[in-house]
């Protein structure tokens, strides 16, 4: 009876409209993504060109100013030239004193004309600069308009999200210390895991148990995001890697199973009765099966995390919707230890002791 009712209830959920929307998204996806990439490339080129023009102009300007500082005669000559061509107020001033040097005369002119600041004397050059700046803005605008996509074209959110996700991965790859090539049989010296660029954790304030969202963070931070990129490797390869990075505590062992490859790699698997290594953005999950009862998590944290685990940078507890999980971090890799069977009060005590 339960089965029938549950089936009937599920069958009533409308799938037609979501399906149509998704198919539309999928059809538009590649085209929009390509256009977006092309637009970004053109914009980058235009920005680079504009930057070159600006730098050249500023460079020339700075060079000229330096030249003028070093050679006052040039400065005076420049002023004379500008005054001649710009019909400056000083030119209309008849109070030019006879028998004074050109330099003195210029100084006197400044004094008798309070409105004539030095900037006014150099106005033509300034105007040229402003003009050039305006021209440059117009040129940049025209480039942007030329390469801007039509207003009616929108990029589906899924594609934007996907692009952002890839950008994250590429960033992580680019900043990884050692990035292996596509050969899955590389030696351990080149780790088969490309470590993430950054690890951030959600939770309460640093080193505090936050009961409001049942989460805890030793690492602290505002956003829980673990970016790890792996590639397809065999479990034994990965275990070898782990074995080199982290030595397991007494009573625990790394189970080697070479029978399968990492497959579904987007998120971790949470299990009831075993420990699980989790890749948020990797190629799979691997399990570390403890030879002792998982209830010894207290022992784990006391002996394994808080006391000299080589290579472990941080450890955190994180709350799920119904259970706690424990993480330890080493070189950008998050290892998750499921603690579903652990008494939460006991866990809080452990957390508190860790935070001290």
């Amino acid at each position: 009876m339960f089965k029938d009712l549950y089936k009937q209830a599920n069958d009533r959920i409308d799938t037609k409209e979501p399906f149509e929307r998704m198919m539309k998204n999928l059809e538009n996806a590649p085209q929009s993504a390509d256009k977006k990439i092309a637009f970004i490339r053109k914009a980058e080129y235009a920005a680079a060109l504009a930057a070159c023009v600006c730098l050249t102009f500023v460079g020339v300007k700075v060079y000229n100013q330096n030249e003028l500082k070093q050679n006052p005669v040039l400065d005076i000559q420049k002023n004379i030239k500008e005054n001649d061509t710009s019909q400056n107020k000083i030119d209309t001033n008849d109070d030019i004193l006879p028998n004074t040097s050109l330099q003195e005369n210029t100084q006197i002119k400044k004094e008798v004309s309070p409105n004539n600041s030095s900037s006014e004397l150099k106005m033509p050059a300034k105007e040229k600069y402003q003009q050039a700046k305006t021209d440059n803005s117009i040129a940049t605008e025209s480039v942007q308009q030329e390469y801007a996509p039509p207003a009616d074209e929108t990029v589906p959110d899924t594609i934007i999200n996907n692009a952002a996700e890839h950008a994250e991965i590429y960033t992580a790859e680019a900043t990884a210390e050692s990035v292996p090539d596509d050969n899955a049989n590389e030696s351990i010296e080149t780790p088969p895991v490309m470590a993430a660029a950054a690890i951030m954790f959600d939770g309460g304030s640093d080193k505090q148990y936050d009961s409001s969202d049942t989460s805890y963070s030793l690492a602290g931070g505002n956003s829980r995001s673990i970016n790890i990129t792996t590639k397809e490797i065999t479990l034994s390869e990965y275990y070898d890697y782990i074995g080199k990075k982290i030595s397991m505590p007494e009573g625990y062992e790394i189970k080697t199973d070479n029978s399968k490859l990492f497959e579904v790699g987007e998120n971790g698997i949470f299990t009831d009765d075993r420990w699980t290594i989790v890749f948020e953005k990797g190629n799979g999950t691997a399990e570390i099966t403890p030879s002792k009862d998982i209830s010894s998590v207290k022992h784990y944290f006391e002996t394994y995390v808080t006391t000299n685990i080589s290579g472990v940078d941080a450890a955190i507890f994180s709350g799920g919707d119904a259970e706690f999980s424990a993480y330890m971090i080493s070189d950008g890799i998050a290892y998750e230890i499921n603690t579903a069977n652990i008494d939460k009060e006991e866990l809080k005590k452990i957390i508190s002791s860790l935070a001290e």
């Binding site: 009533r12 959920i13 399906f19 999928l26 998120n267 009765d273």
Partner: protein, 163 residues
Amino acid sequence: MKFLSQTKEYKHMIIEKYFNMIYRLAVSQTKDIHNAEDITNEVFLKYMNSNKTFESEEHIKAWLIRVTVNSSKSLFSSSWFKKTVPLEEDIPVDMPEEESEVYGAVLKLPQKYRAVIHLFYYEDMKTAQIAQILNLKETTVRSQLSRARDTLKEILKGDDYFV
């Protein structure tokens, strides 16, 4: 024998065939039709962009289910999700009272139980199959199923539904 599963036409056929299954699983996992739609889109987009060689259609089906469940878990554990409050908690579907009661009871279960219950009762999968797909031990699946049933009996106030 390798299974040819890389052509666009074939992938579209797979999407059409398994959309309902994945979307309904996502609804049961997220308890929200909008999140379910996002997750379904994400899953099929991954499938479309994937170069993975599947052994069989069953393999594809298992992969889709696994990615859906994992994506849902990822959603729940995301910082964004923790800091947002859904506008609607109920799924806006007109159901007879009994069906609504049963479906509502399932939605009250923890996420991992919902996945097992859904695959067992709606997709008619065996516990061994569920264990393989979710990468769990079969005993774990059975114990989860058993605990889920006990909880459902409590919620539904009696075991009449399971007779």
